[in-house]
């Protein structure tokens, strides 16, 4: 019975992905978030459990597992219990189409379905149903307001998000995630910088505009600051999950971080070349090394060293220094692939996650009307115009 084997395979893969994401996305995500927020606000962040506080999230999870499940009085118990599961499952289902890298000729992806990025957008849009259901069923006015805000926000930002996805699909000529990365391999550079061959580097403004639109919409879609109105702590307690306790609360967190990592992953695939290694000349890598050295030297020798705020920059400069040195010697030695593709994918994804966290802890929250204005009057026209212009350019000069 082949279908039974297929089903078992699917379930097995789902379990693997679930554990992987629960560990990586939620645990590491929460840890990184607390560390980075600490750096940015000149604090230390979690420090006591494990080396450098690495096991803090594990401890938190164990604590959450022990907590009692409280269902508020007069709450709709069925919907209240199902809502976090919807959010978590929808966020995890995103990952089915994400290719992590290449092992020999085999692409590391659960399923390369031919509507890949559309599937991703569809799954991301289902999350909001869980959020609004959780908000309503809590029987709490703050939770309800959080759910309603979330609904209006996610519906508004789904359109610029879909326009970004459409842009990448149009340039690549396919909706499959693996196909989009392959198209970037064929043209030799990321879609953010370059369009297919006759246009080449002239495509730079289109690519940058598209990726910025997508990233802004993605930040809003996963309800993060500066777009975190649904869970604005200072006005709504905790928004739609104000009444949730224990593991159900953890499922909402898992959903949120799973979704955020998913958005970063899909942005990596569509605009930053996915698992491919950037091909630069050795001297370019040397320039990058020098740049990182200069930044680090400026920080270390001037008064900037005293402020905790520059720590993430210093850390990034250090990482960049290491990476570019490895790449310099690798490319000098004539290797075609210096580092494994999985590492490149994870590095790009975590860079984007870092960017999102940096944004979160730097900008203040927007007002609701500013939020909707940004979506409908800025991102939507920009996305549409960019799509039109890119299509025009591709039809007239390309193909």
């Amino acid at each position: 019975m082949p279908w039974l084997i297929e089903l078992l395979k699917a379930i097995g893969l789902a379990v693997v992905i679930f554990t992987f994401l629960a560990v990586v996305a939620a645990m590491l995500g929460v840890y990184l978030e607390r560390k980075i927020s600490g750096w940015i606000q000149a604090r230390l962040g979690p420090k006591h459990i494990g080396p450098q506080g690495l096991l803090q999230t594990v401890a938190d999870t164990v604590k959450l597992l022990q907590k009692e499940h409280i269902t508020p009085r007069h709450a709709d118990a069925l919907i209240f219990n199902v809502a976090p599961v919807i959010v978590a499952v929808a966020a995890l289902l995103d990952w089915v189409v994400i290719p992590f890298g290449k092992l020999g000729d085999r692409v590391l992806v659960v399923r390369d379905i031919n509507i890949g990025v559309l599937y991703f957008a569809a799954m991301a849009s289902v999350t909001v149903v869980g959020i609004i259901a959780g908000g309503w069923s809590s029987n709490n006015k703050y939770a309800l307001l959080g759910g309603l805000r979330s609904a209006s926000q996610m519906i508004s930002y789904e359109i610029p998000l879909a326009l970004g996805i459409l842009w990448a699909a149009m340039v690549a000529g396919t909706l499959s995630t693996v196909g989009i990365v392959d198209a970037q391999v064929r043209q030799g550079s990321w879609f953010m910088f370059k369009l297919p061959s006759p246009i080449g580097w002239f495509g730079l403004p289109f690519g940058i505009l598209a990726s910025l639109t997508f990233l802004t919409a993605a930040t809003a879609e996963v309800n993060r600051v500066p777009f975190d109105l649904p869970e604005a702590e200072s006005e709504l307690v905790a928004g739609y999950f104000a009444e949730y306790t224990g593991m159900r609360f953890a499922l909402f967190q898992l959903g949120e971080y799973g979704e955020m990592f998913g958005m970063a992953a899909v942005a990596t695939i569509m605009f930053f070349g996915g698992w491919t290694e950037p091909h630069l000349q050795p001297y370019m890598w040397l320039l990058v090394t020098l740049g990182c050295l200069v930044v680090a030297a400026v920080i270390l020798t001037t008064g900037l060293r005293q402020t905790l705020l520059v720590r993430p920059i210093l850390m990034l400069a250090g990482l960049g220094l290491l990476l570019s040195l490895v790449m310099f010697f690798g490319t000098r030695a004539g290797l075609s692939q210096v580092l494994p593709s999985l590492m490149w994918f994870l590095a790009k994804m975590f860079a984007l996650v870092f960017f999102l966290m940096w944004m979160r802890w730097t900008y203040p929250r927007l007002r609701l009307d500013q939020l909707l204005t940004l979506s409908w009057k800025v991102l939507l026209p920009l996305g549409l115009l960019n799509l039109l212009a890119t299509g025009f350019v591709l039809t007239v000069w390309g193909r």
Binding site: W3, L118, Y119, V128, I132, W136, L148, A151, E158
Partner: protein, 163 residues
């Protein structure tokens, strides 16, 4: 065997929540039951090898229309969603009409010899759908986009508060 099992499961996933949608006395539960119904229909589309339609179905129906409906319910019913009476006086009549129509339709469907063709769908049918939209059905495409624009403007004008 597997296909039949999948079809049965998907049909049940579609139809059972649909019964909840039309009978539940709690309007929010009814609206949330739309989600499994739409997802079941999505599964049927996948079985019919219409992947693109399936993706759009989840994106538009499950992700947008349901949320819009929930949004309006919460703005109008004071967020409670529970009214004493959701059904009107036409329940017997409505049930009769629905059962009768179902009976007639099923009899017709089973008795008709449908002219089935044995061809295969284009393997990558997103491209086929796109080409069809911009060649044979370009008029429909354009008219639909005008309708979209009109309904966008119309919805804003109707829903706007009069100052």
């Amino acid at each position: 065997m597997g296909e039949l099992a999948a079809f049965m499961i998907l049909s049940l996933v579609t139809l059972i929540p649909a019964v909840v949608v039309v009978t539940s006395s709690n309007i929010v539960r009814a609206a949330l039951s739309l989600v499994p119904t739409f997802l079941g229909v999505t599964g049927l589309y996948v079985m019919l090898q219409a992947e693109f339609v399936a993706g759009i179905q989840v994106l538009i129906y499950a992700g947008a229309i349901t949320v819009l409906i929930l949004f309006v319910i919460m703005l109008t019913e004071g967020g409670t969603g529970v009214r004493t009476r959701q059904l009107n006086d036409q329940v017997p009549l409505g049930a009769m009409a629905a059962v009768w129509l179902a009976f007639v339709l099923i009899v017709i469907f089973t008795r008709t010899g449908w002219p089935t063709a044995a061809g295969v769908l284009p393997a990558y049918n997103v491209v086929a759908v796109g080409n069809a939209f911009l060649s044979d059905y370009v008029l429909i495409f354009e008219v639909t986009s005008v309708v979209l624009l009109v309904s966008l403007v119309g919805a804003i004008v109707i829903a706007r508060r009069e100052d």
